[in-house]
Amino acid sequence: MNAAPAIRLDGVGVRLGDVDALRGVDLALDARTVAVIGENGSGKSTFARLLAGLVQPTTGTTRVLGLDPARQAGELRRRVAVVFSNPDAQIVMPTAVEDVAFSLRPDRLSRDESRRRADEALDRFGLDALRDRPSHDLSGGQKQLLALAGAFVRLPELVVADEPTTYLDARNARRVSEHLLADRGHRLVVVTHDLALAERCETAVLFAGGRVEAVGHPTDVIAEYQAALAC
């Protein structure tokens, strides 16, 4: 018997207020890196939030890493990390090292262990020199790297990134992309308008009007997206 795919949606719909953000979505994704593309309002971000257990399906069933986000939200959040587009909204603590360590609070580690892992994560993302700097004084690129450090310090099995390079210049966007795509034993679902980033993933999903329009190799899916945009 084949193992279940990491992400499986069967007939999933999500209604937000008066809007059907997702409609009848059927998906089975098992690639390590998945790009989610589509126009604004197409349902990409709702899909990302669904995977992270931040919104619940109105209809259908969802399985992420074999878990039901509606019933096993706590377990899901231990195994799934989320990176949002606006790094300011992700920073909770006043200094970089404290902010990364904040992600480890649910694990109830000792203070020394928590600091050690936070320092390691800062080092990995090139932020070791900024460990005691006020988080909100960092540049946009540094803040997004800090958000990544806060996500990866928990050693997540799945990282969901919702437009992580939107606010960044080309150099920082490239750095963030490299970190996301590097194989650290995690799966990645990245919602993005950056088609160069999407091209580097193993699989791409195209959303339009809350439905999945195409799934497959990024080159083919991007070509379909560009053809739709040209119409």
């Binding site: 909204a89 609070r105 006020p134």
Partner: protein
């Protein structure tokens, strides 16, 4: 809002957050109950100077540079406290009461100046834990306190962005014009922060 943690190696920096909170609370209460007389003003000022001197901020002036910065931030509070009392109560009461109020605020400021927010968060959570038997969520309360402290610079930046955007469009400064977009941006930020906290495992 007094500024936050300053690194240092003095006695207050080395003290655990819980006992430090109690010591400073005791000092604040002590200066608060002093009489409204000249000697009380001197005692209040003396307690503050000693507090900042022993804190060990390493500013080269035995903590007096940090004390001056903190006092400067309180200038409007001092003015609002001092002037009406000077008019209605006379100079002795005005000086003594203003000294007591500012000493209390400055001593309270020593807590956040010498304690990392993480340690403060742990101390508050530990202190509130006995209330859990009454179904009080001490972790949530501690995180709420922390987020409140750390959101201040974000709100200040949002306020500046709103003012800049309005100036760029030639709008004249006004409370109504400022309040609506600021409120919308703040609520949007709160929404995003709530999602980010959930994603980071905060219930």
């Amino acid at each position: 809002m007094l500024s936050l943690y300053r690194p240092g190696d003095g006695i207050l920096h080395r003290m655990a957050a819980g006992p430090k909170l109690l010591v400073l609370l005791g000092a604040v209460l002590a200066v608060s109950v002093l009489a409204s007389q000249w000697w009380a003003a001197a005692v209040a000022a003396g307690v503050v100077v000693v507090g900042y001197a022993v804190a060990g901020f390493g500013d080269g002036l035995l903590g007096m540079r940090v004390l001056a910065q903190q006092t400067l931030m309180l200038r409007w509070l001092l003015l609002v406290t001092f002037v009406p009392q000077l008019i209605f109560l006379g100079p002795e009461a005005a000086v003594a009461n203003t000294a007591r109020v500012s000493a209390a605020v400055l001593l309270a400021g020593l807590l956040v100046l010498t304690t990392r927010v993480t340690d403060l968060l742990d101390a508050v959570e530990r202190g509130l834990r006995p209330l859990e038997r009454f179904r009080f969520d001490s972790e949530r309360a501690a995180v709420l306190l922390t987020v409140t402290l750390t959101t201040v610079p974000v709100l200040a930046r949002l306020a500046q962005e709103v003012r800049d955007a309005q100036r760029a469009r030639g709008a004249r400064p006004g409370l109504r014009l400022f309040a609506v977009p600021f409120l919308i941006l703040s609520l949007k930020h709160a929404d995003q922060l709530g999602e980010a906290l959930s994603a980071r495992g905060v219930r």
